[in-house]
């Protein structure tokens, strides 16, 4: 399948705060970020707190000037670009960016006036179910209502690229579904969507590609299938898909037994190492891996109660990266 054209690219972007003269010295927040987002795709940026997600988005949106590296948003440097570029980009900030003493209706109509041909306010309000709180001060809105107002403010200019920083934070399941549907609709319309989220299930469902940041650098990227090892081996240079093997241990495993295991083991959904606990073994991708595990069971005289293969999820990959 041909790839969609890129709408955003960051190449070796570095960003530091402070100065050598200050006691705290220079702190490098981004340490050479490479990132690409494409039109008609949802690109998800993941990372533990403090990984540099918001700073990466700030550089992409032109809110900060990188210390080094290049940023191209719709073919232009967003930090130096003017209103022509900003009209083509929508931004929903993590903290909303909404004036607390304003009504959503007044704010949306004001932002619409900054554009030549904005999305009709009434249509957007109806799509996002905002009619009931258009005349309520933003300060008095619930978290979910504020999120919807911020989402509407990011879309009012009919952008070609939209940045959504935690768009479903604080939303109830029904509102979250509404946001998912809208994001999918925007993708079908051909918008490039860059989003960050802490909801990894959401990311797995929506993402066309995923970038995982840690300590200011992208440590993994690819499609969800590529990251979780479900990709067609033909597409992954012949490597077998990596899956997790989950087994139920009928008794407690000793520390020595765990240390002698041929592969990393971790509790899977069970709180304690006790009889009946579920254990997940990662890195089982060949018959030899499976045989080594069976040999270990034999050595420690353990007959698993139940054995199954489970596809790795984005959450598994995320935790691997976060804890490595």
């Amino acid at each position: 399948m041909p790839q969609h054209p890129p709408c955003l690219s960051l190449r070796q972007v570095r960003y530091a705060v402070g100065s050598a003269r200050q006691t705290a010295g220079v702190k490098e927040i981004l340490r050479g970020v490479d990132f690409t987002a494409r039109r008609g795709e949802v690109t998800v940026l993941l990372g533990p707190n403090g990984a540099g997600k918001t700073t990466t988005l700030g550089a992409a949106q032109g809110l900060i000037r990188p210390s080094q590296g290049t940023v191209q948003l719709l073919g232009q440097d967003p930090f130096a670009a003017g209103a022509e570029l900003r009209a083509r980009v929508g931004v929903m900030l993590q903290d909303g960016g909404l004036p607390q003493s304003q009504q959503p209706g007044v704010l949306l109509r004001h932002v619409a006036r900054l554009h030549q041909d904005p999305w009709p306010v009434e249509d957007l309000v109806e799509r996002l179910g905002m009619a009931d709180f258009m005349t309520t001060n933003i300060r008095r809105l619930s978290g979910g209502q504020k999120q919807r107002a911020a989402l509407a403010a990011s879309l009012i200019g009919r952008p070609e690229v939209v940045f959504l920083d935690e768009p479903s934070a604080g939303l109830d399941p029904q509102s979250r579904q509404m946001v998912f549907d809208l994001v999918q609709h925007l993708r079908e319309l051909g918008l490039g969507i860059v989003l960050t989220t802490h909801l990894l299930e959401e990311a797995q469902k929506l993402a066309d590609s995923v970038f995982i940041l840690k300590d200011g650098v992208v440590v993994r990227h690819g499609t969800v299938s590529e990251l979780t090892g479900d990709a067609d081996p033909a597409l992954t240079n012949g490597a077998a898909p990596e899956r997790r093997l989950v087994f139920v241990a009928p008794r407690t495993l000793t520390r020595g037994e765990l240390e002698s295991a041929p592969t990393a083991l971790e509790l899977d959904g069970s709180a304690d190492n006790e009889p009946g606990a579920r254990w997940a073994a990662s890195g089982i991708s060949t018959p030899a891996d499976l045989s080594a595990l069976a040999t270990w069971w034999e050595q420690i005289s353990l007959m698993p109660g139940e054995v199954s293969f489970e596809a790795r999820t984005l959450e598994d990959v995320f935790w691997e990266v976060s804890t490595s």
Binding site: Q61, L63, A83, E84, R86, R88, V91, L98, P99, S101
Partner: protein, 250 residues
């Protein structure tokens, strides 16, 4: 909705729209109205009622106090009002959001400056009207100079307010702008004329003194207030340069 290239409204329309949006925000905000209009009005009425002798005592006190109150009001809307509002907008991410819209950082600042001018016009009408009703008789020959001093003074104090809002926390901006406004109003040459002799004359370099002196010179003497204008323009340039260097949008 379909994918077409979205275009910004013309720059003049964006700035005008944002100026009017900010003006409405100020005029419907009770706290801002209190500082920008009601407190200066109370100072005017109180000083007139007490018949405080100002200057060398050769002029009616209302002719001295009204220009000072106008200067106090300009500082309230340009410095205190814009400083506090912008500080909290920065804290809530509003500045960052608006900087990503077609308005952009420059449009945002020009819109705010326009809003200050609109509010200053309202202040001039209300406070000037009250002063005239109480017997103020400004020299008509100085009205153009009055306008020039007010515009340059508003620019200087807006730039100073934005500088503070963009460099310290919102709560600190709130405290500092209020304290400085009271201090400048009381002893900084805004309402009460300063001594022009000796070391005290150095205080005339303060923007508050320059604004007060400029408006008094224009309305009492009908003559050009060149020195205050130069001092205010200098403060405006310094504050703009400092804001360009240190202003933080987030």
């Amino acid at each position: 909705m379909s994918i077409e290239i979205s275009r910004p409204a013309p720059a003049s329309r964006r700035i005008l729209a944002h100026g009017l949006y900010e003006t409405r925000n100020v005029l419907r905000n009770g706290e801002q109205l209190l500082v920008s209009l009601i407190l200066p009005l109370l100072v005017l009425l109180g000083a007139h009622r007490l018949d405080i002798a100002l200057g060398d005592g050769s002029l009616p006190s209302i002719d001295v106090i009204t220009p000072g109150v106008l200067a106090l009001a300009v500082m309230a809307s340009a410095f205190t009002g814009q400083g506090i509002a912008t500080g909290f907008e920065r804290q809530y991410g509003v500045l960052a959001y608006l900087a990503t819209t077609p308005l952009g950082p420059t449009g945002l600042i020009l819109g705010k400056a326009l809003a200050v001018l609109c509010v200053v016009i309202v202040q001039a009408v209300v406070l000037g009207g009250a002063g005239l009703a109480l017997g103020w008789s400004p020299d008509p020959a100085g009205l153009l100079w009055l306008a020039a001093v007010v515009v340059v003074g508003a620019a200087a104090f807006t730039a100073l307010g934005l500088l503070l809002a963009g460099t310290v926390r919102a709560e600190a901006t709130l405290a500092l702008t209020n304290v400085l406004w009271v201090l400048m109003g009381a002893v900084g040459g805004t309402v009460f004329p300063l001594d022009h002799d000796g070391a005290a004359a150095l205080l005339l370099l303060l923007p508050s003194a320059a604004l007060g002196e400029g408006i008094r010179t224009a309305t009492l003497e009908g003559s050009p207030a060149l020195l205050p204008l130069i001092i205010l323009a200098g403060w405006a340039a310094l504050a703009i340069l400092a804001a360009r260097r240190w202003f933080n949008w987030r």
